[in-house]
């Protein structure tokens, strides 16, 4: 009996890859626009995204995740990073693991091995999501225009990650540095977010980074 079907979803050979914001041609926008922009955007594209489901109250589950990833299973609204990987709490039985491009297949196998016997689910959602990093002194203002969640440092310290309503849809906001935030966006909404963020940051100046 097989519990789950897991396969390498990325092509082994060089194949054409288009991230959710491919059409925006961000590469060509680098360095253009106002100098000293209040907001700088970067698409951290084509990373490995895995949704992990399991019982957060079960010590064996947390231990298994730790064994496989070397990262502590984060509690509510927390984000844990290690090198280029990060894991964040999405819900009491749901986490989002982001790993460097292409590592997701091996990591999933490792996780499944460490968690064998437990009722869990791991789902590769790499093609459906992307990370937008926003950096700069005016990012907070842009977020305030977009979400009813309180992004004041008192309420949103570095290392916090929340799912919320953003403009007219939903996404995940993560604070990764004093002036650095990440948005976890769904592929099909990418153009909407791109248009929205350009508009919301227009008065502060928007730059694009590689």
């Amino acid at each position: 009996m097989t519990t789950a079907n897991v396969y390498q979803q990325r092509p082994a050979t060089e194949a054409k890859a288009e991230s959710p914001l491919f059409h925006a041609d961000l590469q060509n926008l680098i360095g253009k626009g106002r100098s000293n922009p209040g907001v700088v955007l970067r698409e951290k594209k084509l990373l490995g995204h895995l949704t992990i489901r399991g019982n957060g109250h079960d010590p064996a589950f947390a231990a298994g995740v730790h064994k496989a990833l070397g990262m502590e299973l984060p509690g509510a609204l927390a984000l844990v990073s290690s090198g280029d990987s990060s894991i964040q709490w999405l819900g009491p039985d749901e986490w989002l693991l982001i790993v460097p491009t292409g590592e997701e297949f091996a990591v999933e196998q490792k996780l499944r091995e460490a968690l064998a016997g437990s009722h869990i689910a791991i789902v590769n959602v790499s093609g459906g999501q992307s990370l937008l990093e926003l950096t700069g002194p005016k990012v907070r203002e842009v977020l305030m225009k977009s979400t009813s969640y309180d992004v004041h440092p008192n309420n949103f310290p570095v290392g916090k990650a929340i799912g919320t309503v953003f403009a007219k849809s939903q996404l995940v906001i993560r604070r990764t540095g004093e002036e650095t935030w990440e948005l976890v966006i769904r592929r099909s909404f990418a153009d909407y977010w791109w248009l929205w963020l350009q508009d919301a940051s227009a008065e502060y100046g928007l730059g694009v980074a590689a």
Binding site: A4, E18, R53, D93, A121, V123, G128, Q129, Y192
Partner: protein, 1006 residues
């Protein structure tokens, strides 16, 4: 003649900055710092508009947001029109263009007025109520007339060039109003370290202190304001919002603030700046320091230009250096209004007399006026004013307030300005938006906010604390309390010393009596904006309207943008007297948001134009665009609708696409279908419960079509679910149902069957889905894949894993067209590369991209339903002739089973889905057309069903449709008729809904 009413000195204006503006086509000049109202008064403009019902000339009456008359249309161009702007709240800027909203053809000679008060006769009190009693069609007729005559402003017909946005704010303490109490509260809260927002509707902070005679610590009160604002500005935890009206107090301390960032700068916002911003604030605590509105007295002809609120006169004199007249008569029932006479004297103007309704007033301000030689007529009031376009005289007579009688004929005093003060009403609007009932306080003759569950503190005027020193202390204490309740350490502070003086109580006078009685006296206006008179209120009570809410609706008192700012308490007092009850027994009406009008721009924020709504795209969108697709909105998705070639209309294109699929191979982007990954040992059992059919025996590698019902037994979604490992399934849903179905699974798992071990995750965006359909699909796909596509190796309703175009894929052999089809699922990042390879390999096969229209046609030819098109939430699987998809013997009572076994759901004459074939093959049955058995019956006809899907352009060569017909499944071969709106009737035969390949031979092609 320029600024004839401008005083030589004084005012918080910059006389070196002259601003030109235009009102009703005439050019005037004012100064920077003026409001539009102040500038109009400075130029001696008396008539500002015509009244709503009676078309009487009206002038500026107040100096703040309570202004009832000077509600103007602003905008120099069509695109920048803003209706309903109070001239008293609009800062003057160079090039401002304002027009009256009432009074065609001109405010000075009003046609409706000349024709004999047409408006008044057509709209007696009770008009709204009476009209609504008549049929709807009557209202439509009246409405046009009212809208034209009322002319309450208009919206621009061109695109607004300015930017408006929203800002979400959070704070510990929101202070509403920056008068003395508000500023003191803000200081206390800010010093404690709390996050504080202070919002005030005026151009600058200070409220009443900006035109006050009072001193604080021996210095002008405005100096203290400057010091406090300076301190607050320096604190990083404080946000100051001038020109920002707190308009709504919503649940759980959520308040909306309408900030006018550049309305004072020009007709258009400077480049790159936002014109107006709506702050959506969640406050831990709210300090309401909204202050008071002065009440006017209600007397005869109290609406003629030259009648004003007493306090407004002081504001114009002291804050703007404008004298709105030469000879003042003041009518009052309280001490505080005497400052107006003193200010008038200080400005070197003539006070004709003060009429004080009290018999022996001895307060400090009264004595000061007396000492300065002002004539004071006690026990008296202005009973009526005289003048048509401007007050020319006022009659002051002795009155008996208790008996509501005039006790002497009095004397006519020459004057051009009558200022009246009937006491002060705490501005309880915000405190009442959530339904909190204001409480009457006899000692101040006003309603104050009552107890409420909201976490708020009321301070200063709104709390009934009027004396300046007391108000400062009340504000500070409120600020401390709010901050400490929000978790901050209380602070101590030294407040400036205000002079305390003896003040005598206000006398309860609202409507001034008249010898002729209310009904025959010259019109005594209670609500100037809605043209409601004291007589109208009395009439309402005589006609039996005793509840204050009914009186309001009968007379229009406090309607619309006014929200009862000036007239509410006077109206209640008149109704109470005429019903012989007390004011608290009468109670107030509801106050509703918004406090003052808000532009649609500020409400919409940036949710407009190209970012009005999210638009979702698949990973293949660019390819569709390149290949000339026309797009259709499906929910938030843009899906290719059809791919026209040069010169093709939709019908030609769809016929071509259909033919290509039936003859060779077509390509559809199916990425928008919902896809849900299901894992867990109980996944299979869960599917058994959630679908109508059985899943126990579905082997790994196989896929099955499933129907989902609600508990009522009605179909609500469908799709194919594949078993990809024993405990692992991929479910597909309709495009529109994706989110709904996931939530449906979650609610049952989380709330009903938490013991079932199963997890659901959306993978809709992760996979792009390319469908190849048609007899040549196998040949084409085999050129780009390593999967064995042989008939035996890869049978219908199974799936395989392998490389497609060099990219790992899951390929499902399922079909929505009736043709041999493969659905290729690839991680979306790589889909474009795969599509390009398939398109290249497809050239020899005439691979034809097709859109949703052709998809709809092809599936209908096979009789496949589309949930939401052929179903409407009232159809069981049996109604759809899909009983084969119901697992009647499944052990667990799955969702929908009990519902569809209700007596009503098993009737044989229910509407059932059938095929409809027009007798004339060229006739097209409109979707939605109602069906009857007998087209000759009289109207209303007995309707027996309707058309759900209908296609003229298709691969069959004749028009066909699907529809529901009562008992239709047993009526094969019978006729139905669709009588259409144009009188024509289309006749159709009831046939099987499977028009194409009923035996399914197409699946067996080599």
């Amino acid at each position: 003649m320029s600024q004839s009413n401008r005083l030589p000195n004084g005012g918080r204006i910059d006389r070196s900055k002259v601003l030109n503006f235009n009102f009703n086509g005439q050019t005037y000049q004012g100064f920077e710092g003026d409001t539009l109202a102040a500038a109009l008064l400075a130029n001696g403009v008396d008539i500002i508009g015509r009244s709503f019902k009676y078309s009487r000339p009206r002038g500026i009456f107040a100096a703040g947001s309570e202004e009832p008359n000077a509600v103007l249309q602003i905008g120099a161009t069509e695109a920048t029109q803003i209706p309903n702007v109070r001239a008293t709240q609009q800062a003057l800027y160079s090039g401002l263009v304002a027009t009256s909203t009432n009074g065609w053809p001109s405010v000075n000679t009003d046609m409706m007025g000349i024709l004999g008060k047409v408006g008044g006769k057509l709209m007696p009190p009770g008009f709204y109520y009476k009209t609504f009693m008549y049929p709807q069609s009557f209202w439509m007729t009246y409405e046009k007339y009212i809208r034209k005559a009322a002319g309450l402003g208009r919206s621009p017909t061109e695109l607004d060039p300015d930017t408006y946005d929203n800002m979400n704010q959070h704070c510990d303490v929101l202070v509403v109003g920056a008068g003395p109490a508000g500023l003191a509260a803000a200081l206390a809260a800010a010093r404690s370290g709390a996050r504080v927002i202070v919002a005030d509707e005026q151009e600058e902070f200070g409220g009443s202190l900006l035109d006050s005679r009072e001193s604080l610590d021996g210095k002008p009160a405005a100096d203290w304001v400057a010091t406090v604002v300076g301190e607050l500005k320096g604190l990083p935890n404080v946000t100051l919002l001038p020109r920002a009206t707190v308009n709504g107090y919503h649940d759980h301390n959520f308040l909306t603030i309408h900030e006018r960032l550049t309305d004072h700068l020009g007709d258009r916002a400077p480049i790159g700046q936002v014109r107006q911003r709506m702050h959506r604030v969640r406050a831990k605590r709210v300090v309401l320091a909204s202050g008071t509105h002065e009440r006017p007295l209600v007397y005869g002809n109290n609406d003629v230009p030259g009648n004003m609120l007493a306090g407004a006169v002081s504001t114009y004199v002291r804050r703007y250096g404008v004298a709105p007249g030469k000879k003042l008569v003041l009518s009052t029932n309280n001490d505080y209004a005497y400052r107006v006479a003193l200010d008038w004297l200080d400005a070197g103007l003539h006070v004709v007399a003060v009429a004080d309704a009290r018999h022996n007033p001895r307060g400090a301000l009264v004595e000061e006026a007396r000492a300065k030689g002002i004539r004071i007529l006690t026990g008296s009031a202005v009973v009526e004013a005289r003048g048509s376009k401007r007050v020319s005289a006022a009659r002051v007579a002795a009155i008996d307030v208790k008996a509501h009688k005039v006790t002497s004929p009095g004397e006519w005093l020459d004057c051009d300005l009558v200022a009246s003060s009937g006491g002060y009403s705490p501005i309880v609007h915000l405190a009442s938006h959530l339904g909190g009932k204001p409480v009457w306080r006899e000692d101040i003759l006003g309603f104050v906010p009552g107890d409420a569950p909201q976490k708020r503190v009321c301070v200063g005027g709104v709390n009934g604390v009027y004396a300046l020193g007391d108000s400062l202390a009340d504000g500070f204490e409120g600020g401390v309390r709010a901050a400490s309740e929000a978790g901050f350490k209380p602070v101590e502070g030294v407040l400036p010393k205000a002079l305390s003086r003896v003040e005598e109580p206000t006398l309860a006078l609202f409507q001034v009596p008249h010898e002729k009685g209310t009904a025959r006296a010259p019109k005594q206006f209670v609500d100037l904006q809605n043209d409601v008179t004291a007589a109208a209120i009395e009439l309402a009570t005589r006609e039996g309207f005793e509840s204050v809410e009914h009186v309001k609706r009968y007379t229009a008192l406090g309607f619309g943008t006014d929200q009862g700012k000036l007239g509410n308490v006077n109206g209640l007092a008149i109704a109470a007297r005429s019903l012989n009850v007390s004011i608290p027994e009468m109670g107030t009406t509801m106050f509703r948001p918004n406090y003052t009008p808000v532009t649609f721009g500020a409400i919409a924020g940036r949710h407009c134009g190209h970012i009005f709504e999210p638009v979702r795209f698949t990973a293949l969108h660019a390819w569709h665009v390149k290949n000339g697709a026309e797009f259709e909105d499906v929910g938030q998705w843009k899906r290719p609708w059809y791919f026209p070639k040069a010169g093709e209309d939709i019908h030609t294109a769809v016929r071509r696409e259909c033919k290509a699929v039936r003859d060779s191979v077509g390509l559809l982007d199916a990425s928008t279908l919902g896809k849900i990954d299901i894992q867990g040992p109980d996944a299979r059992e869960f599917l058994n419960r959630i679908y109508t059919n059985a899943w126990t025996k579905l082997d790994v590698g196989k896929a099955r079509y499933g129907l989902m019902c609600k508990e009522d037994g009605m179909v609500f979604d469908d799709g194919v679910t594949a078993c990809i490992a024993d405990n692992h399934f991929i479910m597909t849903t309709t495009t529109g149902g994706a989110a709904r179905v996931l939530q449906w699974l979650e609610i049952y798992q989380q709330t009903e069957w938490p013991d079932l071990q199963v997890y659901f995750t959306s993978v809709t965006d992760h996979y792009a889905t390319l469908t190849l359909s048609g007899p040549n699909s196998r040949k084409l796909l085999s050129e780009v894949t390593d999967i064995d596509l042989g008939r035996e190796a890869f049978p219908f309703m199974t799936w395989k894993e392998g490389l497609v175009g060099g990219v790992p894929a899951r390929v499902f052999r399922i079909s929505f067209t009736g043709e041999l089809s493969y659905e290729v699922n690839i991680q979306a990042d790589y889909a474009m590369g795969v599509l390009e390879k398939i398109a290249e390999a497809g050239k020899p096969y005439n691979l034809t991209p097709y859109g949703t229209e052709t998809m709809h046609v092809l599936r209908a030819e096979k009789g496949f339903i589309i949930v939401g098109q052929d179903t409407d939430g009232s159809m069981t699987p049996d109604d759809l002739n899909m009983g084969w998809c119901v697992g009647r013997t499944k052990p667990f009572s799955w969702i929908g089973q009990r519902g569809m076994n209700r007596e009503d759901c098993v009737r044989e004459d229910r509407k059932q889905l059938v095929g409809l074939k027009p007798i004339d093959p060229n006739k097209w049955l409109p979707e939605g057309a109602q069906l009857v058995f007998d087209p000759k019956q009289s109207i209303p006809m007995k309707m027996v069903g309707h058309v759900t899907s209908s296609y003229a352009a298709n691969s069959l060569g004749y028009s066909f449709a699907m529809g529901v017909v009562k008992g239709g499944l047993k009526r094969m071969g019978e006729r139905v008729f669709a009588p259409l709106a144009d009188g024509s009737v289309i006749e159709a035969e009831i046939v099987s809904s499977v028009f194409f390949d009923p035996k399914g031979d197409q699946q067996n092609v080599e």
